[in-house]
Symmetry: C2
Subunit: 277 residues, 2 copies
């Protein structure tokens, strides 16, 4: 998907919501366990109920890999039913040396090789340039590089101050940004600290940020918008558990839809206030 | 596998060789393409020819994921035929927040869930403590955390100097070491810079290091031993391309065996010189 198509979709849907498909067989409603592929049935219902409000879907690959071949088949089928206008993110956090990173790019971008055709993949920066660049060589595909994450462990290394006075996550963003463009590179920027979002926005004024941590992890949408929004919106705000597990009953899909709509309506206000729509 | 079993195997085989199964359909001998599962046939022949000399096998998961379900099935079959005394490493470089890292642990450690039962997995440290600890909670399983890698991009962030005068890779090792023990935690330490290996050994005197970069990436075994060996050996030195692609003819397996034996004989000398055997 191109940057223009993504922005166009944000304007049409009046939303910058990404729904995280962290679909766990132990957490989905129990009545779905009767189906041959409960995870796929769950995802199908969630996607149907939220597609009006979401511009992106982000399956976290760990949840699918954890059940081996069966899980990866659920993922493959899920990817096929995500509406074509939606941006798809393989939340895989891969990172390896050059020739190996190319293999991961095939695994997530090259349908003829692996069966998967995501628009983007999340990438870990620790191994440096040759672990990122192979993902940028696919036309209209994106690498979404971890800048600042929203988990407790993000304090361990990402916040470390370097000799040049930058914190590691700022150094990562300022360096990685030179490897690609605002049309093939995004950053993961956690929602849990507003001022840190501002610091990344300063380094990367034009790039889209994928923002986890709103909702169950405690981040606020208002802060994310205040510190992160740019003239093209520049944000994809993810909610996983807050939407997909909002109800565990037979009404799980309609409740998920309502939660997604709530966020969409808040997002619409922000987009209008910032004159993006 | 326990630490004692690993050390015992090193002493019996007089070797600390790990064979990297970076098996690529475009690089294996063409006569294997006639088989239904060429990658598995390749791996089987390589394992048969090298198992006398190798104490560990390390498939890099990217090569298998790149061909989707078919590749993961080749990997599953490969894991089943690796001799039980050999230490198995899922070179996956995973790293995600706590609940997701647990899913990756199931994906590689919990056979009943995923079909895979590796002894260990490589883990990226960027996301901090909650991305590592879930892998340490499985009995007799290991997390092998990226410290210093051997690729060009390792200069981008790993070598950055922090305010506390440590370089990032030293900070990573000194902090991660407090999260586990020398019986469930190893570090990846690239072979390409001897003095950096010494720096990591200073931080982690008792831990095993998984050392890539000997051979095609230019690292020397002598330097690795000089700066990295400890009283229990403390090293697993990996060779991938230098062994598995030493010949592309019908003799590929026997040539791979000879290359593995060459390294084993050098390793035996080092083990004898250091009075480990």
């Amino acid at each position: 998907m191109t940057r223009a198509e993504l922005i166009d979709q944000i304007k049409r849907k009046k939303s910058f919501l990404c729904v995280g498909l962290d679909s766990d067989i132990n957490k989905i409603p129990s009545h779905l366990l009767e189906f041959e592929d409960p995870i796929f049935e769950f995802n199908r219902a969630i996607i149907d109920a939220t597609k009006e409000y979401a511009v992106a879907y982000k399956p976290n690959i760990a949840f699918y890999e954890s059940t081996g071949a069966k899980g990866m088949e659920s993922l493959r089928k899920t990817l096929e039913i995500i509406p074509k206008e939606c941006f798809t993110i393989a939340d895989a956090k891969r990172g390896d040396i050059g020739n190996t990173a190319s293999m991961y790019a095939k695994a997530f971008f090259d349908k003829s090789s692996s069966g998967f055709d995501f628009d983007s993949i999340t990438v870990a920066p620790y191994m440096g340039i040759d672990s990122v660049v192979p993902f940028l060589e696919f036309q209209n595909k994106w690498a979404i590089v971890l800048g600042l994450t929203s988990n407790p462990g993000s304090n361990d290394f990402q916040q470390n101050e370097l000799r040049n006075s930058k914190r590691l996550f700022e150094e990562v963003v300022s360096r990685v940004i030179t490897w690609g463009t605002a049309s093939n590179l995004m950053f993961v920027v956690g929602a849990t600290r507003g001022k840190d979002i501002a610091a990344v926005r300063k380094q990367a004024p034009n790039h889209f940020f994928l923002v986890p941590g709103v909702g169950s992890q405690g981040g606020s949408l208002e802060e994310v918008v205040e510190f992160g929004m740019n003239n093209d919106c520049g944000l994809l705000v993810n909610s996983s558990r807050g939407i997909i597990y909002a109800s565990k009953g037979h009404d799980f899909a309609s409740i998920a839809g309502k939660e997604a709509q709530k966020l969409q309506l808040q997002m619409q206000e922000h987009l209008e206030y910032h004159k993006i729509i």
